[in-house]
């Protein structure tokens, strides 16, 4: 697995942002943005969690380690959490995490927490666009690759021979 650190040479920098959206509000909002055919930057890749309270700060650093230039977390508005208070737990973690990564030389602006309700398709679009612009301005996140003489112990899947049989048009 490569620790991607910079944009392909020559081409303009297209940041890669990993988004963790809660199932009930922000993920639904981005479905709504879709059904409303709103257009926004394609730099965000979405991972669905049941609740922003499921967001383990380790996921955020893992995403950065995997090459994300920023991480966007979306949850229900305060008071609206489908699970009552998960979004507050997320808020507390992100608050401290942003300070910690800041000390470690990573701009806190690369980590963003937003409350986006199921009906706020526009807000989703605007937040994504705003964050992409901000991360573009910050430039690529350069994390030094971690030397792994033990070999990358990541996924031990082998590639089972892929068949190209009868692919229907």
């Amino acid at each position: 697995m490569s620790d991607a650190t910079s944009s392909p040479s020559g081409e303009p920098f297209e940041p890669r942002i990993v988004a963790f959206f809660c199932n009930w509000c922000t993920y639904t909002a981005s479905d709504l943005a879709g059904t409303s055919r709103m257009k926004y930057a394609a730099n965000v890749r979405v991972i669905r969690l049941m609740c922003s309270g499921r967001l383990d700060p380790q996921f955020v650093v893992a995403a950065l380690r995997r090459g994300a230039d920023g991480v966007l977390v979306g949850g229900c508005h305060p008071g609206d959490c489908h699970y009552q208070e998960g979004n507050y737990k997320c808020l507390r973690r992100m608050e401290l995490l942003r300070r910690m990564v800041g000390q470690m030389g990573i701009e806190p602006e690369r980590l963003r927490l937003e409350w986006i309700s199921a009906s706020e398709g526009e807000k989703l679009r605007d937040v994504v666009n705003a964050m992409v612009a901000q991360v573009k301005a910050l430039g690529p996140l350069k994390l030094e690759p971690i030397p792994r003489p033990n070999g990358d112990e990541e996924s031990d899947l082998q590639l089972v021979g892929a068949s190209d049989e009868g692919v229907l048009a």
Binding site: Q58, P78, R92, R93, M104, G105, L143, E144
Partner: protein
């Protein structure tokens, strides 16, 4: 049959790990009787050549402590790796980077400036002299080992078979590891030779920990008289116990001070600092954005507190110089 050969080597360390071995006390003699110590620069005059003379894998085990920051250390651990069947990362520094790993919060140049800059406290250095890799002196040149821009863990330099965690590793764990080695019943490679369980399990204070969100205010150890019976977190004092491996007989807590995390994470943790950060911050008893921030502000040094011993092994590794950001 001949006794198994064992080596000890230190890289970027403070000598505490060798002291920990010496603290086997009477057992040192047993160990010495059972194994053949063929390399131990701190206590014996065997040299690199003895090592080089060995056949590959001749040592049953080599215990390496200290983090790695110089080319020289790299060469030596590569040599140790070759000569040992089992290479053991001994102590926090070799395991997760240790206290010296905090240096990864700053650039090498900033270290030099702080230490050798003219007028820095007692330093008088108007010529701005800096230690040089090579210096010409009458008769020839003297050389100094050069330093890498970041502190590395042992397994970031060579493959490691086992880890003995702790700063220093608890004598109990050292003894157990040596016994396992002698009896040839070591766990699967890659294992950390300590209980795969967090400290709270054995903590005598766990019963005094509340079961509802309670962190209204963080207090620093010097600001309060610490209750010697009560859970530190319950007193608002940061304790790394919930995320930290057991095996130390909660020595620090016995000294009425909180766990600072030297035994590192349990096997299921991917990033120690982020893990304990999550546990601590989640327990803050407020839902107001500003109040939450205000409460957490009372933790003056998240990076240095949650990654006190684990910066080089954190997933963010050495971001300061790489990302070109200032850091501290």
């Amino acid at each position: 049959m001949s006794k198994p050969k064992v080596g000890f080597y230190w890289c970027a360390s403070c000598g505490g790990c060798e002291e920990a071995v010496v603290d086997l006390a009477e057992d040192v003699l047993k160990v010495v009787a059972a194994v053949d110590i063929v390399f131990w620069p701190c206590a014996m005059d065997f040299k690199r050549s003895d090592l080089e003379a060995m056949a590959d894998g001749e040592m049953a085990a080599c215990f390496v402590n200290g983090a790695i920051r110089t080319s020289e250390q790299r060469e030596m651990v590569e040599l140790c790796r070759r000569k040992a069947q089992a290479l053991v990362a001994f102590g926090s520094c070799a395991h997760t980077g240790g206290i010296p790993g905090l240096a990864n919060l700053c650039t090498l140049e900033s270290i030099f400036e702080t230490v050798y800059g003219d007028g820095q406290f007692s330093t008088v250095n108007p010529e701005k002299t800096r230690p040089q890799a090579a210096t010409q002196v009458p008769g020839g040149g003297v050389t100094l080992a050069t330093m890498d821009h970041s502190v590395k863990t042992l397994d970031q330099v060579v493959p490691v078979d086992y880890y003995l965690p702790g700063c220093p590793p608890p004598v109990k764990l050292i003894a157990a590891a040596v016994t396992a080695l002698l009896e040839g019943n070591l766990p699967p490679r890659g294992a950390v030779l300590a209980p795969d369980m967090a400290l709270c399990k054995e903590c005598p204070r766990i019963d005094s920990k509340p079961q509802d969100p309670f962190l209204r205010e963080f207090k620093r150890p010097h600001q309060v008289l610490i209750d010697p019976e009560k859970c530190f977190l319950a007193q608002g004092i940061l304790c790394m116990g919930p995320a930290t491996r057991d095996g130390c007989d909660h020595a620090c807590i016995g000294g009425n001070m909180p766990c600072t995390g030297c035994l590192g994470p349990v096997s299921r943790t991917r990033d120690y600092g982020a893990a304990i950060l999550s546990a601590v911050s989640s327990l803050v008893d407020s839902n107001d954005e500003h109040e939450v921030a205000a409460i957490l502000e009372k933790i003056p040094d998240p990076a240095g507190t949650f990654n006190r011993y684990s910066l080089p092994s954190s997933m963010l590794y050495q971001s300061i110089s790489a990302n070109g950001n200032g850091g501290t």
